[in-house]
Assembly symmetry: C2
Homo-oligomer: 293 residues x 2
Amino acid sequence: MPKLLSPKQVARAIQASESSVKRWCDRGDLEVQYTAGGHRKIPVSSVIAFLRKTGQALENPELLGLPAVAGRAHVDYETACDALFTALVNGKEAVARQILTELYLAEHSLAVIFDRVVTPVMIQVGQKWQCGDVHVFQERRGCEILLQIMQELRRLLPTPPSDAPVAIGGTVSGDLYRLPTAMVEMILREQHWAAASLGDNLPFQTLERAIEQYRPRVFWLSCSHLNDEDEFLRQYNDLYDTFGMSVAFVVGGRALKESLRSQMRYATFCDTMQHLEAFVQTLNNTASKPAEQ
Amino acid sequence: MPKLLSPKQVARAIQASESSVKRWCDRGDLEVQYTAGGHRKIPVSSVIAFLRKTGQALENPELLGLPAVAGRAHVDYETACDALFTALVNGKEAVARQILTELYLAEHSLAVIFDRVVTPVMIQVGQKWQCGDVHVFQERRGCEILLQIMQELRRLLPTPPSDAPVAIGGTVSGDLYRLPTAMVEMILREQHWAAASLGDNLPFQTLERAIEQYRPRVFWLSCSHLNDEDEFLRQYNDLYDTFGMSVAFVVGGRALKESLRSQMRYATFCDTMQHLEAFVQTLNNTASKPAEQ
DNA sequence: ACACAAAACATCCAAAACGTTCATTTTTAA
DNA sequence: TTAAAAATGAACGTTTTGGATGTTTTGTGT
């Protein structure tokens, strides 16, 4: 998708007028390219450089375009992962914030950041925790920091329009991993959904009530840990029997192994946040009232 | 609605002259960004922080997109509690944010807001939940919303100076109530402490490691629920034996009944956030290097 | 290939913001 | 109570901004 932006797009994104953006281009404050016919084309990287130079905040990042997934050599995920890991286990909130903010400004797709940086880092934390290299409190503090930063980023996402389709979800009883469900919420909000995470550790009974009350178009379940797989299967399938026809069930998480999935029904299973993003975009495009781009 | 304001807009909102607003920006009292041409752009959050810092009233809140009552002389806690309760159980994030922002502007201490509004509301939610008037998902969603808003307010607090005294804390294994520990963190940060919440559900073993690594001046433990009181007592007292001399233990929470407290040692027990605030202020005043008021 | 609508272009101008200066009010200290 | 100090708000000429204008480029659909 577009790496080059028009003056109007940039103006909206940084809350300035089109005239000013064009003037800044002409004056050289904003690096700019031209089409054959003389139209300005402003690279995203140029906007970021400009914002950094002037110390301005990015007011409407969603307007800077959607997934720039295809290999951007610019960002080195491995370095970012290493740095983030170190920052999290040492409780360096400010460092972690800087890493993620820069990635967000450079990458513009939350899904990619989640899949290629945040999730791998948390997996690494989990592994080192099992071999005893990382203490529980370091893992917990790391999660706290990540959740805080994600909430800050969440504020930069568009506020859902009042007629936005509703999505709710969370994790089931016994699953205390709230990071994934927070990610899901953000991905959905980025796609202009009115997504609300109900949190973690939710009994199936209350999920049923929640669906009844919210009447969502999408219901998600993040499963990082299951206390009792058989019990989960039974209750999940009950829930699906009740609502599966009217609500799109989206499930994911490492606890849902293939053997389990084969016994479940759902609208989609997501291995990654990018899968989820693609699925939601499909919904947006095929819906009667699609959320505008 | 715009998140960045011009000096004139801010001047009208807080009923001051444009000259003064500009002077405050230049002096650093108001956080400000600049356009490429050198015009000031003031974030709403910066205005809110300024108003609180100086104790001024907000004369025209509607100009900032805030509720019309914000900053008015006195606040009726009971009304606020009722409104917040309704907003939380109905998942109305925006309404809850307005209520709390309004209180934040009108009040001088976060502790008062926590003690007289947030805590009572969550107690009410808990009660109605037990009689079945409130569903689990409503309670959970309410907590999510509160944590979200508190995170936003946290950003308005002063960033701790690098030589700030360190405080860490959280809840023990089996205690999943993370709201109180988030409150504690904010109260401490408001008093210029480098406070870091380690989160919830922490085994004692890792608390020990955390204290070793962070070497805090204060260690807090929030106890809203205990799986096993005797086990807790044993492990807590072990921890106190190890660190009680070098670290100030601050405990609180409704799970610590009188019968339990009598068997525990601690620097202070806090019934309310205002107690905590007073205690920390005492520490600040008697410390060799007091954080400036 | 052509036509047409949407978007971007350059230019111009009024409104607004800039920095500076100065008179007036408020606070602090003697 | 008075004098000095500090903060405020108005006034000023200059610069920046943002909207309106009519024209040109772009991209899409036939």
